[in-house]
């Protein structure tokens, strides 16, 4: 019984870590869906590219097994450069693959998004090979850095993942709620035409949406790389589907919903791994998505939007 309780505590910590990353990625899906009502299939790949960029930055500071600069400089640099790179990528994707199709039938942008996703995966395979890459996390944060609360051990890397995610999410929430651009984004998500009547350039707002969403995914990529220490070109697919699940769970288009959904999904998945079977980890997440979409497509915090005839 004690054992079970300890297990439960440990899995809660795992779930929280996993969930905060899902939430980071989910935000991008949710923001794009909120403004364009479009599923950005390529978002998972943006996250993957972020992980590779972080890996690349880390590589610059490595000489054999020696770290050339303090982790306090290296880790922020990894995150910031990955965020900058992925935000540029996200804006580019929207400009090239989605903007020309904005008035096309719904199928067209979806297939286009799928194509971008395949392109990015294989571009990485082509330039970096299909072999998994290893993050030298132990050089940055020794495994021995950990604290114990009750029966759960919390490694410093977990604290970093959760901490960075929370800071970014609070930052985003504040930006969306209180900045001029954030208000313009919310106005545009609600009524694109009326927003343009206020002098808001809808194209710029949409670019901004992709920029922010992609930057968050890029940060998520670096955090996952640091946490799991292994990344590969295929990691974006499953992560993307789960983040989408998180976004739908919380109510797609709703920023706080995406955060809540991410955390919930992380917890459910961790508990499932512990108490059912690790091989069915993805099955649990995907089944949850399907059941959810069928029974409550509006999600936990979503609003029911009536369809206009």
């Amino acid at each position: 019984m004690d054992d079970l309780f300890a297990q439960l505590q440990q899995q809660l910590v795992n779930g929280l870590t996993l969930g905060s990353v899902y939430a980071l990625i989910a935000l991008g899906y949710s923001m794009v869906y909120g403004t364009l009502e479009m599923l950005n299939f390529a978002h998972g790949e943006v996250f993957m590219i972020g992980a590779f960029m972080g890996w690349g930055v880390l590589g610059l500071f490595l000489h054999g097994t020696a770290l050339l600069a303090s982790p306090i400089i290296v880790i922020p640099l990894m995150i910031i450069i990955a965020m900058a790179g992925t935000s540029a990528l996200g804006v580019g994707i929207e400009w090239f693959a989605y903007r020309p199709l904005r008035n096309a039938p719904r199928l067209a942008p979806l297939i286009s998004a799928l194509a971008v996703s395949i392109f990015l995966q294989n571009f990485v395979v082509l330039t970096m090979s299909a072999r998994a890459k290893v993050y030298a996390t132990q050089l940055l944060i020794p495994m021995t850095w950990q604290i114990t609360i009750g029966d759960a051990t919390i490694s410093f890397i977990r604290i970093l993942v959760v901490g960075v995610s929370i800071v970014l999410m609070i930052g985003l929430d504040y930006f969306i709620r209180h900045s001029k651009m954030g208000r313009a984004m919310r106005a545009t998500a609600q009524d694109r035409e009326a927003a343009s009547f206020m002098g808001i350039s809808v194209d710029k707002v949409i670019s901004m949406t992709f920029l922010i969403g992609s930057a968050l995914a890029g940060a998520g990529g670096v955090l996952v790389g640091l946490y799991y220490t292994q990344i590969d070109f295929y990691m974006g697919f499953a992560a993307g589907m789960k983040a989408f699940t998180a976004a739908v769970l919380g109510g797609i288009g709703n920023i706080r919903g995406a955060m809540l959904g991410g955390l919930l999904l992380g917890l459910v998945e961790s508990l499932g791994v512990a108490f059912i079977s690790p091989v069915y980890k993805d099955v649990i997440a995907f089944s949850m998505l399907i059941i959810l979409l069928i029974f409550k497509p509006s999600g936990l915090l979503g609003e029911q939007v009536p369809v206009k005839v």
């Binding site: 719904r106 297939i111 799928l114 395949i118 035409e193 927003a195 350039s201 069928i294």
Partner: protein, 865 residues
């Protein structure tokens, strides 16, 4: 380069199109049969087999994506179902060796059945949700196949199933690539033939209708969920066939065969080949498999190339290499025209209104999120009459139609048609009682031929299901031919011109003809009653006269007609009775003459006369010799093909209030939208503050000093009142100025200050209008444009709003206002223009316009008997 490529491609395509179909088919057959003999080695034959397998897969997926327009991302799961059904039951793994010919239909059934189970709950979802659900399902299937080797070994996990039995027939064992080439070829022919048969059958028309316009499809009596599900199951069973063929040919299956990449592969083929053409999957698979083999040594580039192909295709040629062609109908035009002539003769003795009641509407009420759209409306429609429903914008006319036809469910009340209660019935059920409708914004099926559009109306009466559509027994052919003649006759009702276009895509017709096709399609449903929603909208004068004649002819033939229409020339000329709606309620009912003489009706349209400060008391604006602040010269604008503005010229001088008046759909709002760049002027000049603005974007125009209060207010309902104001000041860079603007707004509208932290959606209609005005004033505009500021407000609020507008103008802002409520708008204006069907017909000082009797005619029309 690209355009040169395009021209040469088009030329080549044109040449191909000229080849007789029979020659094409004969050539294809010869190539198919001779290929293994001509091939230099078994490797080449294998490639041939692979191509054919992808033809089966691609054609199967195209049932769902191309014919029914559903994005199925779980297709590879059905492929896996087929393959594993065979491999599990015909391999040493479980010591079972069931025959290929038993397992083939079994696997089809398993795949189709899984398709139904997955499809039934998820097909209600919107397209992208459906895509992700099916994608999740495909992943679950793959993970199960991978992991179901423990605790009990069912699938043998990642090692897959090997030593699968080959196919056998009459003791002959299929062995080697040539044998499988022909076996797979046989099934490819079956699947492609089924596409050919289904595409233009009752089933195919239902799929096409759902793909092109689900709402209109429902009103043709088609149950969209049912037919999407059918497409899903048919596609899945084709994937099942492919799975069995794959397992038998390869003598092994592995979970990784059915990966996401494989799905992308198949999608790429059908998108490249063309989803609208039955041979699209063939061409796509031919090109991509060959390309894949050619790039074998560079297989790493293959997926990159596929993705680039998909991207470029979506951007430059989303329809694919092979375009979809409309069906060539062989119907005997002469016979149809003769039959229509006889029909006309038969009804030369006119049927007309009777006393018998066909439809009784009682106390229908409907609210959308607290806003009452229709309140307690009751009326009767008598058999054989034309009943028109008229009323100002937002009166609830179209909602009333939607309630009667099952598009929306009323909150209370009843509608009894010919003995059937309509409330609670779905739109596709209502049709079967004999009620057909058309739509305000045309809803034809653009990717179908004119005649096929009309033939969708046969759906409820023809009883042809999947088997009948594929095998086409004589009774099916006969029923289809009869239906086709009837559909053609309904087209002929509008004259031989429209009938002669029967084999063209409906999207190539002009606007008026598309409206006619919609009426013909409704007639093909064989209805007792026709509900026509603004049949004359967007038509020119000549076409309006024609449609008016046609509608009255339909009544003469015994149809009962309910008409919603803004064109008073139509309504007043042909209606037997008129029901007037205003603000969701019935205002009046009577003959055209009674309605024209009804004071309440005239007021609903023109607004109430009240005592106002005479215009002469105003500082009159001396325009003499001055340059106008805003001037439109010869401006034209159109939506798609529909010309909405015709040579509009008008001036607004600094300091003035100018209003643009006119009936619904006259082009008032379009004028404002054209000024602010939301609709592009196709011709003419717009000058504001000395600069030409007609080519500028909306944000640029707003930045130059124009602000707008849009029609229907369009406040951001999920933002707070204060946030709405802040967004209104978006173009103002100085935060202090925005703050001052907000304070000014609160001073002017104290109620907004009280509600500053409330979500704007919770405000009342009048408060929302004030917020919309305050929001527009945030930029301190030189010119304020208001689009129907009085719409949907109670009389007391209307008065308030106009008083506010007057104050704004007195404070120095120039005002340009579009209004239906002529009387009150003119009372606060210096000058006014009247617009009728896209042209300015009057322009004068406000007081003179007020006194002008022609004004009333511009709104309510006149009876020209």
């Amino acid at each position: 380069m690209l355009s040169a490529l395009k021209t040469s491609y088009d030329r080549a395509a044109g040449a191909v199109a000229k080849i007789d179909n029979r020659i094409l088919w004969a050539a294809l057959a010869v190539v198919f049969l001779a290929f293994p003999f001509g091939a230099s080695n078994a490797y080449i034959v294998r490639i041939g087999g692979t191509i054919l397998l992808y033809v089966v897969l691609g054609t199967g997926l195209n049932f769902v994506v191309g014919l029914a327009g559903v994005l199925d991302m779980g297709y590879t799961a059905f492929y896996a179902m087929g393959a594993y059904s065979y491999a599990l039951l015909a391999s040493p793994l479980h010591h079972m060796h069931v025959s290929f010919w038993i397992l083939m239909p079994f696997a089809m059934f398993v795949a189709a059945f899984t398709g139904l189970i997955i499809g039934a709950p998820s097909l209600r979802l919107r397209g992208d949700y459906l895509a992700i659900t099916t994608m999740g399902f495909a992943q679950i299937t793959r993970l199960l196949l991978l992991n179901l080797d423990k605790p009990v070994n069912i699938t043998n996990g990642p090692n897959g199933i090997v030593k699968v039995d080959p196919a056998k027939i009459f003791g002959y064992v299929f062995d080697g690539s040539t044998a499988y080439y022909y076996l797979i070829g046989f099934f490819a022919i079956v699947v492609v033939a089924a596409t050919y048969r289904l595409r233009f059958s009752r089933i195919g028309r239902a799929w096409g209708a759902i793909r092109d316009d689900e709402v209109a499809a429902t009103c043709m009596g088609i149950n969209p969920s049912l037919y999407k599900l059918l497409a899903f199951a048919v596609g899945a069973s084709a994937a099942g066939i492919a799975g069995v063929l794959f397992a038998a040919w390869q003598e092994s299956v592995f979970p990784e065969v059915f990966s996401m990449n494989e799905l992308i592969n198949i999608y790429c083929m059908i998108v490249l080949g063309g989803t609208g053409n039955p041979l699209g999957p063939l061409l796509g698979s031919l090109l991509l498999v060959t390309l894949g083999e050619a790039l074998r040594e560079y297989s790493i580039y293959r997926m990159i190339i596929y993705s680039v192909i998909l991207l470029l295709m979506m951007r430059y040629r989303p329809q694919g290499l092979l375009v979809s062609k409309p069906r060539k109908s062989e119907v005997d035009v002469e016979a149809v025209l003769a039959e229509e002539e006889r029909e006309k003769e038969k009804h030369s003795r006119k049927l007309g209104p009777t006393k018998e009641v066909l439809l009784t509407v009682k106390d229908l009420t409907k609210a959308f999120g607290g806003i009452k759209a229709v309140t307690g409306v009751s009326f009767e429609v008598r058999k054989g009459e034309i009943l028109s429903i008229i009323g100002p914008n937002g009166a609830g006319k179209t909602t009333l139609f939607n309630l009667i036809t099952g598009m929306h469910r009323p909150d209370s009340g009843s509608a009894i048609f010919d003995g059937h209660e309509l409330v609670g019935k779905k739109a596709y059920q209502v049709v079967k009682f004999g009620l057909a409708r058309t739509f305000q914004n045309i809803r034809v099926f653009p990717q179908m031929s004119v005649l096929d559009n009309v033939m969708t109306g046969l759906h409820p009466r023809l009883k042809i299901m999947l088997g009948g559509a594929i095998f086409q027994p004589p009774w099916v052919k006969k029923a289809e031919a009869e239906g086709e003649r009837e559909a053609a006759r309904h087209l002929a009702f509008f004259g031989p011109g429209l009938l002669s276009r029967k084999n063209d895509f409906v999207s190539t017709l002009n606007y008026a003809d598309r409206r006619r096709v919609e009426v013909a399609r409704a007639l093909t449903l064989g209805p007792k009653m026709l509900l026509l929603d603004e049949p004359a909208a967007g038509m020119n004068m000549g076409e309006i006269a024609q449609i008016t004649r046609h509608i009255s002819e339909l009544r003469d033939r015994g149809y009962t007609i309910v008409l919603v229409e803004h064109q008073m020339s139509v309504v007043m000329n042909i209606s037997d009775r008129i029901v007037v709606m205003n603000k969701g309620e019935k205002l009046a009912e009577g003959s055209p003459a009674e309605i024209q003489g009804n004071r309440a009706v005239v007021e609903a349209y023109l607004g109430t006369k009240r005592e106002v400060e005479p215009i002469s008391a105003w500082e009159t604006i001396d325009a003499e010799g001055k340059k106008p602040l805003l001037s439109l010269k010869g401006v034209n604008a159109q939506y798609g093909q529909i010309r909405v503005l015709n040579d509009i010229s008008l001036d607004v001088f600094r300091g003035e209030t100018v209003c643009l008046l006119g009936a619904n759909a006259a082009g008032k709002s379009t004028t404002i939208k054209t000024i602010i760049g939301n609709v592009k002027a196709t011709h003419g000049e717009i000058e504001f503050d000395g600069k030409r603005i007609e080519g500028k974007t909306t944000p640029e125009i707003i930045n130059s000093g124009i602000a707008i209060v849009p029609e229907g207010r369009r406040i951001f309902s999920r933002l707070t009142v204060e946030e709405n104001l802040e967004v209104g000041g978006f173009i103002t860079p100085d935060p202090a100025k925005i703050r001052r603007g907000i304070e000014r707004a609160y001073e002017q509208f104290p109620i907004l200050k009280e509600r500053r932290q409330q979500k704007a959606g919770t405000l009342s209609g009048g408060e929302q209008q004030m917020l919309a005005i305050a929001r527009a004033l945030m930029t301190e505009p030189i010119l304020l444009c208001l689009d129907e500021p009085s719409m949907g407000l109670s009389p007391i609020l209307v008065e308030q709003v106009f008083a506010i507008i007057r104050e704004i103008n007195k404070a120095g802002t120039t005002v340009f206002m579009v209004e239906q409520n002529a009387t009150q708008a003119l009372a606060i204006a210096h000058r006014g223009y009247v617009i009728q069907t896209g042209s300015i017909v009057m322009g004068d000082r406000a007081d003179k316009l007020l006194a002008n009797e022609d004004m009333k005619r511009a709104y309510l029309g006149e009876t020209s008997a």
